[in-house]
């Protein structure tokens, strides 16, 4: 019900900010994404879950074309992803991505990591980029780590720095690929707190995660994937209490 009304509303007011239509992808002969259809409205928070190897990472990596889909269409903020590099860069500039193992640049300090892309992509002068960077470091609560190298920070601090690095590019969409999977339990919360805050501010987010608490608090929709397909999707309440497929029940039983 709520899904239906939301979709109607979208068509009336504005087109979905991400639109995936019949997307298929193969790694060699391996069919990793099968007929993916997914619309994401502006400001919507989506959690994708599913067993390992089901294609979650591949799906969100297609959205900023870190992976190339073989058929179907992906439109991000009105720009269709094709071989056109200009369009690809445009999409990437408004799409932040946070990875499982942070992928900070180890040869730069945290501050340099943060100002790097704004300076080289947006051509923002250094002092302004630094000012913005320090604001975001404040927001992810590591303002005093600016001068350190990534290797000197804990996992949780590195991941928050990585989130801040993405935010410095002022993205409209944030993609998270299991941002807490590589972290020790006591550090998961500090990262999730930052993400919840971001969600509250209205950022469009797609988040691959198995943190079901997070899904319950902030997600508008939970998407369950298996074997390269979207099996089902629903708002969290419906998803956790009334999933329709046996596969989903089995998965939920394993992780909850």
């Amino acid at each position: 019900m709520s899904n239906a009304t939301k979709r109607n509303g979208d068509q009336g007011a504005q087109a979905p900010v991400i639109q995936m239509r019949d997307v298929n992808k193969w790694f060699g002969n391996f069919h990793v994404l099968k007929d993916i259809n997914l619309d994401v409205a502006r400001g919507e928070r989506i959690v994708i879950c599913g067993p390992s190897g089901s294609g979650k990472s591949t799906l969100i990596r297609c959205i900023n074309r870190l992976e190339i889909h073989e058929s179907g269409t992906i439109i991000v903020d009105g720009i269709e992803l094709t071989r056109n590099m200009k369009h690809i860069h445009k999409v990437r500039r408004q799409t932040g991505m946070v990875f499982q193992d942070f992928n900070l640049f180890p040869h730069m300090t945290i501050l340099e990591n943060l100002i790097f892309a704004p300076m080289w992509v947006h051509r923002i002068p250094r002092n302004r980029a630094e000012k913005i960077a320090r604001q975001y470091l404040e927001r992810v609560r590591i303002p005093d780590q600016a001068g350190k190298y990534p290797g000197q920070l804990s996992g949780g601090q590195q991941q928050r720095a990585a989130i801040a690095r993405s935010l410095c590019m002022n993205p409209r969409i944030m993609l998270f690929d299991e941002p807490t999977s590589a972290l020790d339990p006591e550090m998961i919360k500090e990262v999730l707190d930052v993400m919840v805050e971001l969600a509250r501010e209205g950022m469009t987010m797609i988040c691959v995660t198995h943190e079901m608490g997070f899904a319950r608090t902030v997600a508008d929709r939970v998407v369950f994937m298996d074997s390269g397909e979207i099996v089902e999707q629903a708002d969290p309440e419906t998803f956790f209490s009334g999933a329709r497929y046996d596969r989903t029940h089995l998965f939920l039983k394993q992780i909850l």
Binding site: R61, N64, L66, M85, H89, R92, R93, T95, G96, M97, F99, D101, N103, L104, F105, P106, H107, F116, A117, W120, V121, Y149, G151, A162, R165, S166, M169, L175
Partner: protein, 371 residues
């Protein structure tokens, strides 16, 4: 909640850490070191004693030959006066040709200035008085300056390149070879990973054949065969041909060294750079290469040392470098019989330069490891 040892509830045992004690005598100090390194087991003890005996036999005579009994001053006659020591007078007499070859005496200040410039550049690098980027720039400008001083033109009398020789030539070929072959090698290595199969094939097609043949072959080809392929009327002098041969040879090896560094960069680094909207060149130059090159500094320095020593092969295409001049000097009919002095001096100079490079590489390595 804030209970410390002093406010601990009664009835609990109080933990008292034991004081630190010194380690047993056998593991520290001179005795410990000797025990661990020289006399650990009868086999090592025997080896130590044998080597000590050998050193006692060899080192004192060597020192008395090279230093104490050596002839440092005087002329040719001082050396033939029934002396057992080395005749360094010979090296002093030949010093000019050993350093600069047949370079005309009236312009000698120019290579001397170039040498001073070279030493200053080396010192600036060793003591790291500038950032890496500025050092690279300084070396490029400085080397161009040295070349101008030695070659002439732009107001200076041109000195024919067939007169160049000695250590000046060895260092010149090596420094220019290193400075051009590193960027070229980086480009070749990047080309090997190119998305475009034409570029990939081209780079493999350059790297693999060159790595498959010895430098001598390449020098021969550059010196003898290249002129056959050039269009009639176009001439490149021998020195330049040899320099090109050295550059290509070194670049092929540098490319493989850099490739090793590129392979060590995790895919996530590319993902992160791409996801931030950086294009290929910015990703490569600002994210990938700084990390990759840091990984391969030791192997690169090794290649530089090897290249410097390899320049001695130019003797086979008629250039008289440092080693070439050494050999020419001992054939001087006025100074027959001083081969040992000549070669010891030559080896010593090569050793000083190579050893400095190797130490410099070590210090760079340590500096890179700190971050």
């Amino acid at each position: 909640m804030t209970s410390t040892a002093s406010t601990a509830p009664p009835g609990l045992l109080v933990f008292q850490p034991k004081p630190d004690r010194p380690p047993p005598l056998q593991t520290v100090g001179v005795v410990g070191w000797l025990r661990n390194n020289l006399f650990n087991g009868w086999y090592n003890s025997l080896l130590t004693i044998l080597i000590l005996l050998l050193l006692v036999k060899v080192v004192p005579p060597l020192f008395s030959w090279a230093l104490f009994d050596a002839v440092w001053t005087g002329g040719r006659d001082a050396c033939t006066a029934g002396n057992d020591g080395a005749c360094w007078v010979f090296v002093a007499d030949k010093f000019r040709v050993l350093m600069v070859g047949m370079y005309p005496a009236e312009h000698l200040t120019r290579p001397i200035l170039a040498g001073i410039l070279f030493v200053v550049l080396s010192a600036l690098s060793i003591f790291r008085l500038f950032s890496a980027r500025k050092l690279v720039l300084l070396w490029v400008v400085g080397t161009a300056g040295c070349f101008w001083l030695i070659n002439g033109g732009w107001g200076l009398t041109v000195v024919d390149q067939s007169l160049w020789g000695g250590l000046m030539l060895s260092l010149g070929l090596a420094v220019i070879g290193i400075m051009v072959s590193i960027p070229l090698g980086i480009l070749l290595a990047l080309g090997r990973y190119s998305q475009l199969s034409v570029i990939r094939a081209l780079c493999v097609g350059i790297i693999e054949p060159i790595r498959g043949v010895p430098l001598i072959t390449i020098l021969f080809m550059a010196s003898v065969m290249l002129p056959l392929f050039l269009p009639v009327g176009m001439e490149i002098n021998n020195m330049l041909r040899v320099q090109i041969g050295i550059i290509l040879f070194s670049a092929a090896y540098m490319a493989e060294v850099v490739r090793g560094g590129l392979q060590a960069i995790p895919a996530g680094q590319y993902d992160a750079a791409k996801s931030l909207g950086l294009n290929y060149w910015k990703t490569t130059v600002l994210v990938v290469l700084p990390q990759a090159l840091r990984h391969v500094i030791p192997s690169m320095i090794n290649r530089c040392i090897a290249l410097f020593k390899d320049t001695s092969l130019v003797i086979i295409v008629g250039l008289l470098d440092f080693l070439g001049m050494t050999r020419a000097s001992i054939q001087d009919p006025n100074w027959l019989g001083f081969d040992a002095e000549a070669y010891v001096f030559c080896a010593f100079v090569y050793w000083v330069i190579c050893f400095s490079m190797s130490r410099y590489g070590r210090s760079l390595e340590r500096q890179g490891g700190n971050e």
